[in-house]
Amino acid sequence: MGRKRIIDYLMALVIVISLNFFLPRLLPGDPLLSIYGEDALITMTPEAKVELTRRMGLDKPLWEQFFNYLSGIVKGDLGYSYYFQGPVLDLLLGALPWTLLLTGLALIISTLIGFILGVESGWRKGRLADQGLLTGFMFLNGFPDLVIGLFLLLLFGVVLGLFPLGGAMTPYSQLTGVSLLLDVLHHLFLPLSALVLTEIASCYLLTRTTVVTLLEEPFILTARAKGIKPKNIRYRHVGRNSLLPIVTRTGVRLGRLFTGALFIETIFAYPGMGLLIYRAILGRDFPLIQGVFFLVAVVILLINFFVELIYPRIDPRVKNNAY
């Protein structure tokens, strides 16, 4: 990875920070309004407004505000949430583990199942099993995550009543050990299934397409001619080579670990980053929206950066035409 690409990432970071800073301040009207939101502003007395304007330095020139904002970020101060009455950073760190648990598990499960089904299906191209799987996944791929979540919630949560309608664990239950774990899993099941169902189709379709293309390569013919068992060709030759796009895709998905469950978390009221973003928007809690945006953007930039850094090691072929 060349210096040029590193500069790209730094530029992206600058854009993120500037958007975060300038968007609320350049909108017409009181910047306090954009930072705290209408609802919070109505309850403030004029003295409080003046005090807040002074304390946040909104009366100072823009460049000085920008400098203060940057130094705040460096110190780990992302602002104070008016709606939740707490520092933004604490709220984010509280939500992060739940999201990572949900999206991480979903990523692993959907990639594994999607890959295996993709290889088996591509191998049997044109046969009944392949046709069935392909059609099924095409349909599944047509359902947005929002809709899959709704179906599961309605069917298993509301109608059958098998699973809780929301939350990550039973509140005030004081469970410990195994029963706590079971309780968490019980709450996790529906959002996790919804997320796996959303993600699995794209992994399957990608693997299948790769496998179908690979099967026409000369080295597969050579392997057959040498008399290698079909099972070995399927996984050692075809499967291994079709891993590459899957690895790339998983790298891209890693960045989505933080926002990918936005709708599903909202539907199941699962207390992760997605629900936090939703609540922040609902409560017009601008410090929180900005905090989430900043943190998530930075983490995704970092992940993408490392994926790009590692990728030439996995596939030496990209090294020559890398940036």
């Binding site: 191209k125 359902f143 900005q290």
Partner: protein, 282 residues
């Protein structure tokens, strides 16, 4: 290579299905005022009515007829999809082609801009801008297109560069054709298949992004959107109101599916290797 689109879509099961779905949604959106006796915005005292002869899908918390809201939602969804598709592809053609034709420092600038934009996750950009701007239908289309063009522009630039090396374009140049003439008469028509599949992909994205933003409550609350209906219904899901939750969800899926199937069929027509039924593994 000559491509027969009509035959391709006719021969492909998913393609036929996509066209049927699209026609269905399109006619519902078009005929919406004829298909219902109620205005989608009309508030009444009959709140939380279950489905009946009078209200096919019952009424919501404000006493509005859910069926009319769902079919008028199809209009919002469709118009957004078409506008975003057209605007995104136009932007991408304009920027991608100009970069490939003008070259030089302008091209380098555009490429860097695209690279940087592609790094930043655009769902976040969308959320942030939408949260501040509270977009109405027009702003929504503009915002969605502005964040979607870079990927498409990059493909179009690359393809334009390849096309420029083709002999028919070189021939046109020797006859004295200007850059603009070549762009309009040769390059853009040759880009046809790519433009079509980009259009479908972006229209599809626009459908669920529009519904998604409305679901999160970031778009104009007065807009009749499937996302808003779902959000509203979800707040009363303990009433077991499937007749309120499912129809907008189905409409949304049907539209997204229609675009997915069309996109997939187009991909298969353009890349016949993907076609089912040849060269099985063993």
């Amino acid at each position: 290579m000559h491509i027969n689109y009509v035959r391709g879509f006719k021969e492909n099961r998913l393609g036929r299905l996509g066209i049927i779905f699209l026609a269905l949604i399109l006619s519902i959106a078009f005929l919406a005022p004829v298909l219902t006796a109620y205005s989608p915005r009309q508030v009444s005292e009959n709140i939380f009515q279950p489905p009946s002869q009078k209200h096919w899908l019952g009424t919501n918390d404000l006493g509005q007829d859910i069926w009319s809201r769902v079919i008028f939602g199809a209009r919002t969804s469709f118009i957004t999809a078409l506008s975003v598709g057209i605007l995104t592809v136009t932007l991408a053609v304009f920027i991608g082609c100009s970069a490939a034709l003008l070259r030089g420092i302008y091209e380098r600038f555009v490429l860097r801009l695209i690279d940087i934009f592609l790094i930043i996750p655009n769902i976040l950009l969308l959320l942030l801008t939408a949260a501040y701007l509270r977009p109405g239908p027009v702003t929504m289309v503009i915002v969605l297109s502005i964040f979607n063009w870079p990927g498409c522009a990059r493909i179009i630039r690359a393809q334009t560069l390849t096309l420029q090396e083709k002999s028919h374009i070189k021939a046109a140049k020797t006859f004295g054709a200007g850059t603009f003439y070549i762009l309009v008469k040769h390059i853009i028509p040759d880009l046809g298949p790519i433009l079509a599949s980009s259009f479908i992909a972006h229209a599809r994205r626009a459908v669920f992004m529009e519904a998604g933003l409305a679901f999160l409550g970031i778009s104009d609350p007065l807009l009749i959107s499937w996302g808003t209906i779902i959000n509203r219904a979800l707040q009363y899901s303990y009433l077991n109101n499937w007749y309120w939750l499912l129809p907008p969800a189905l409409g949304l899926s049907l539209t997204v599916m229609a675009f997915s199937f069309l996109g997939y069929t187009l991909e298969e027509i353009l890349n016949p290797r993907l076609k089912v039924g040849k060269n099985a593994g063993d």
